[in-house]
Amino acid sequence: MLNKSDIGHQEFSLFVTEVEPRLSRALTGTYGREVGEEATRDALVYAWENWERVSGMENPVGFLFRVGQSRSRRYRRKPVVLPEVGSDELPHIEPALPKALEELSERQRVALLLIHVEGLTERDAARAMGVSRVTVRRHADRALSKLRRFLEVEDG
């Protein structure tokens, strides 16, 4: 028979399976590979330590992104440098994509990642960023336009 802590551990494992990739991508895209990893870990440790509270949240990704942002302060280095990837590993990706993402302001990058890449609603993204819905939409739209212009693509 499972005891209470086993059940909590199982629930948390499922939660990590679902949330960690989204959180990790958003924080890695915002702060780079190393800081993104540390910030993701710190945010999930926070979730584990405060599981009763976090498990009941409607928007845990947005909340934990904010926690990761706060905790990343101790690791942050500016400017953010995103690694290049070989064309053999990702043949469908424009080689200039990392540079294009670096060219976005941090706010634009965060809005793009939360809304377009990770699928948060504008409301949840706005709360995670501490700005209004209008502002977050503006950042996300500008980021997308800038990215497309930089990569010279016409999609969307």
Binding site: H9, F12, S13, V16, T17, E20, P21, S24, R25, T28, G29, R33, G36, E37, T40, R41, L44, V45, A47, W48, E49, N50, R53, F63, R66, Q69, S70, R73, R74, K78, L82, P83, V85, E89, L90, H92, I93, E94, L97, P98, L101, S105, E106, R107, L112, L113, H116, V117, R127, A128, M129, G130, V131, L144, L147, R148, L151, V153, D155, G156
Partner: protein, 213 residues
């Protein structure tokens, strides 16, 4: 060629380092910082906020154009909180650090404080954090706090020294704003506002934390 959103997602998936659940639950539990306060029921927290506002602070209802208040400049991002023995409030814009920061409050010999960039003030709307700082001449005020859905503590700092610990209960769905302010050439005040989605102020706290408080 895939669209840029798919490309971005796939790219980040490749470069990121996955964090496993075992590495999290095995993580040593850090000491609980001050900001994680005992959670109270909403009514008790609300009552505490009202008592603090009425007794502990100077609850002055300010007019929007009150000349004593120098409104802060909104920055792109504010980092605030406590780390070890330090309390800080730092604002950034897209070009870099914009506002001041407070340093160690428990060991004044190691405190750092200063103004960065051209601005002497900063403020930011907050969801889980609230921060503000004002700097003028030799005086410096900062406010740093951690405000999740329930009442938590916000620390007001004057020249590196903790002067007040405030408790607020933000209303879910409402935004919390904080402003550092300057009077007579000295950074002396902290103002906190709770606004609804239309940006209307529904509650305002005003704390004098300067030398005369």
């Amino acid at each position: 060629m895939a669209d840029v959103i798919t490309q971005t997602r796939d790219y980040l998936e490749v470069i990121r380092t996955p964090v496993t659940v075992d590495s999290i639950v095995a993580h040593p539990v850090a000491p609980i910082p001050d900001r994680r306060r005992i959670r109270r029921g909403p009514l008790v927290a609300l009552a505490a906020a009202v008592v603090v506002a009425l007794v502990g602070l100077v609850p002055v209802l300010l007019q929007p154009n009150d000349p004593r208040i120098v409104r802060s400049q909104v920055v792109d991002e504010v980092i605030a909180g406590s780390q070890e023995n330090s309390h800080y409030a730092v604002g950034f814009d897209s070009d870099g650090i914009l506002c001041a920061e407070a340093g160690a409050s428990l060991d004044l010999s190691t405190q750092s404080q200063g103004v960065c960039g051209d601005s002497d003030q900063a403020a930011a709307p907050a969801y889980q954090q609230v921060a503000a700082a004002a700097y003028q001449g030799d005086s410096f005020v900062a406010l740093a706090g951690w405000v999740p859905a329930s009442a938590e503590n916000i620390t007001a700092i004057y020249n590196g020294e903790i002067r007040r610990s405030l408790e607020l209960t933000p209303i879910p769905g409402y935004d919390l704003y904080a402003f550092g302010a300057i009077e007579d050439g000295q950074a002396r005040f902290i103002e906190i506002e709770i606004r609804n989605e239309a940006g209307e102020i529904i509650q305002r706290y005003f704390a004098s934390i300067g030398p005369s408080s």
